[in-house]
Amino acid sequence: MKREQHRKPGLKELEIELEEQKRMAADFKETAQRVQAEFENYGKRAEMEKQSFREFANAKLIEEFLPLLDSFDSAIEKIGKHKSISIGEAVEGISSLQKQLLRILEKNGLKRIEAEGNEFDPNLHECMLKEKIEGKEDEVVLEELQKGYLLKEKVLRPSKVKINKLE
């Protein structure tokens, strides 16, 4: 059987290897520092992009509201010309503005949360008051005190409600 030969490396070889290791360590360190710096710069750039995207998105949304602003202007102008309007006409005018506003908001993902008559759901509703009415289902929403809204399936504001509590 052949004996394996182990030759001890000489000082010179060890010095060369040490230099090589040192060079590699310095390379790794430099790479790590560069990657860290790049990552930080990327973070800063992403934050700036987010900021400018937010501003741009706001501008898009505000633009959609301009026709509503026009409607307000023309309503005010009309009222000024006629001097007097009936309550019925005023209500009709306001509800048409409300419809216009809702259309813009719905187009952007807003949805009203259904409450009255539905079963109380703490994921969508917030219970402010309770009452005991026999003959009505337990935990049914009796009254909606403030409307709630969803924005693309996320609760923007829960409906504030009064519920029936039989217990």
Binding site: Q36, F39, E40, G43, F120, P122, N123, H125, E126, C127, M128, L129, K130, E139, L151, K154, V155, L156, P158, I163, K165, E167
Partner: protein, 224 residues
Amino acid sequence: MAKIIGIDLGTSNSAAAMLESGKPKIIPSAEGSSLYGKSFPSYVAFTKGGQTLVGEPARRQAVSNPKRTFTAFKRKMGTDYKFMVEGREYTPQQLSAFILQKIKKDAEEFLGDKVEKAVITVPAYFDDNQRQATKDAGKIAGLEVIRIINEPTAASLAYGLDKKGKEHRIVVFDLGGGTLDVTVMEFGDGVFEVKSTSGDTQLGGMDMDQAVADFIIKDLIPIY
């Protein structure tokens, strides 16, 4: 490498953060007090139907389900107090664990990775029992609590006060939802030392809300 998250397990509100490129970043709660909210109310509730609610939904049904809704259980940490729900007992640690479980879940969804280790902050005045109870709550929630740190120390670290490189004295005012803590600390040789801590465990932002509500009801409504 899996992230270690930092948790502010508060009396009235809780939140979590992680370090990204050396800077703290708050992990948003899936349903915070607002859309994409950061923190959420420290509420746990058990519904009649057997559901466990944590955070915002639990708070929203507190009026209709007061006997099975719990908050401010942090005040009972480290004591033998038991919360009763129809014959079942819950320790303050178990209720805190529900909050921590929600934080773990939200953090995992946010990071897209498993979260198994956490640092939790506690008031500077918490004794060994209360600190141990906080660690136990983490364990129940499936989190290894690698460090418990004082809340004022965490605040000082967030401001980089440990990096200023010299000794200094710091005062931290922590006006929370349910408590007010004032702590005087000294920093030197990389160590924060609490010199004195005091405050009011029954005074916070919620008491101010209540005072405004009482003023409106008692003084404004009768006039208008």
